[in-house]
Subunit: 311 residues, 2 copies
């Protein structure tokens, strides 16, 4: 039975990329019209999701009406900026590069992250972040990302972690502000790049550039489905094949930060959405039950990031 269930889940996850692309283009076009805008604006990071959204916008409203903001800062990897620029050139969409370092400096952001006090090269910084990340996970039983979804009350780590988090989150909130600034000056709709996987587990910055937008075309697609869509849209394989990373702090890639590979997440999440009991999911996917509880816990703890509570 369980292998039958797995097969049905896998077939449920299949998308007809051409149809999906067409309907998402319509979705973007409709909302640009409905909200009386004259074009689209998005943040282009060099990663997969924003590459797909850029291609969809270009098809929806035209290359001339699509503006991509590239907003690197000290911790951004150069290769991502290059990939973003190459893609924009290929799509013939407009770009504006805005170095956000001055804004972050003004906010005192770089002083929040202890490792910035030392004159370390980025790779070494990355290795140290990674070590500290794993150390925390071993000591406390959950990775910092999972702990960060609610408030930190752990006295031993809280100062470092709160500062590190505030450091990361400022970056995405500055980016959101700039997207709206240029969006408003040029009457463009702000197009978000969040996918369903990261949205459901809270792997985004609350009220940051991957959350506070006008529309979210990819929100119904899990990460692995976005990869399928990317292939259909002929996104360069360099972008499709790179290891997804928030590119927000040196050394941390998505799957390391989350603690579970997307391939597993994208079966666990739809199985949970189907309301399968945890033990059946574990059996069907042949993974430990503790992983299912962990994912369920991420969904529960991040609920506040998907809504503002009112009485």
């Amino acid at each position: 039975m369980s292998s039958h269930k797995l097969t049905s889940l896998q077939s449920q996850m299949k998308i007809e990329a051409g149809t999906v692309a067409h309907s998402l283009e319509n979705f973007i076009k409709e909302h640009v019209t409905k909200l009386d805008r004259e074009g689209a604006i998005l943040g282009l990071s060099g990663g997969l999701d924003s590459a797909v959204v850029a291609a969809l916008c270009q098809r929806a409203v035209g290359a001339g009406q699509t503006l991509a903001l590239l907003m690197p800062e000290k911790d951004s990897q150069k290769e991502h900026l290059k990939d973003a620029l190459d893609l924009a050139r290929k799509l013939k969409i407009e770009t504006k590069i805005i170095d956000i370092v001055p804004y972050l400096k003004q906010l005192g952001a770089y002083q929040l992250f202890e490792l910035n006090r030392l004159p370390l090269p980025q790779p070494l910084k990355g290795a140290l972040v990674n070590k500290a990340y794993r150390y925390y996970a071993r000591k406390t039983g959950e990775p910092p990302f999972a702990a960060s979804l609610l408030g930190f009350k752990d006295k031993e780590f809280s100062t470092y972690l709160s500062k590190g988090l505030a450091y990361c989150r400022l970056k995405h909130r500055v980016r959101m502000m700039l997207l709206y600034l240029y969006g408003e000056l040029e009457n463009r709709l702000v197009i978000g790049t969040a996918n369903r996987t990261e949205h459901e587990i809270g792997f985004f910055v609350k009220h940051g550039c991957d959350d506070a937008v006008d529309v979210m075309p990819l929100l119904n697609l899990y990460k692995t489905q976005v990869i399928e869509l990317a292939a259909y849209l002929k996104i360069p394989s360099r972008i499709i094949n790179k290891n997804p990373s928030p590119d927000i702090i040196p050394g941390l890639i998505d799957e390391e930060a989350i603690g579970i590979p997307y391939a597993e997440l994208d079966l666990i999440l739809p199985a949970l959405a189907n309301q399968w009991p945890e033990h059946e999911i574990a059996e069907a996917l042949k993974i430990g039950a503790e992983k299912i509880s962990y994912v369920k816990n991420l969904v529960r703890k991040s609920a506040h990031m998907r809504q503002v509570y009112t009485p």
Copy 2:
């Protein structure tokens, strides 16, 4: 019949302030606990709504656990800062004054607003803003606020207006960013101050400090009900009696900007919520039908500000 309807509407609007205050305190306390926070943070402007929220936080989590950020800039009126400080002192809550001018300067904000190029005193600037505001309303048939809810396509005014709007909105987005920065560093819940009236008509900055928060305790209360609550909470009469203003651009108060007094809005909106036909509302409230359509239009045009669209 219509006078009976009016009476029933008025009685429906009555609140038992003590009961409401108590339940909102519980709401705040519960969410601080539920989200594992150790206190509350809010932006205190010197206006009515944030004063009420400050008092509720103080009662909910204690004065020592309530931090109020005061974030003035060039266009902020001095008296509002003074009122905010006086209130904080009375409530014995912590305050931090953050001059947001350097952040706005870095973003080029002050250059966005044409009147800033001239060395005019604030009152004169205010008078000119007001004149321009009314001129636009007369020329186009709707005040700039109503036009601003969707994109500007009016070529004659769009550059000035888009810049003016981007100017105003940057301020509230910078404030949001700072509220989250300090909230995250000190593990506090970000408490919003939006009321139902302004939320329903879109009189707020999308993803700004009156929108992008963790909880919104006042969201079920119309402005006039917040005034009742303020009296119960012994908010100083200076704050209760001042003319509500966004304090975001010289010379503009809420009722002038919106085009309808709160006393009328707070009957029209609940009547619309009760699904009364427009002509019955007009008859019962003895106001022109065009006012009802105008309010209905604000609600419709601002729908995108209360949700992020997904496919």
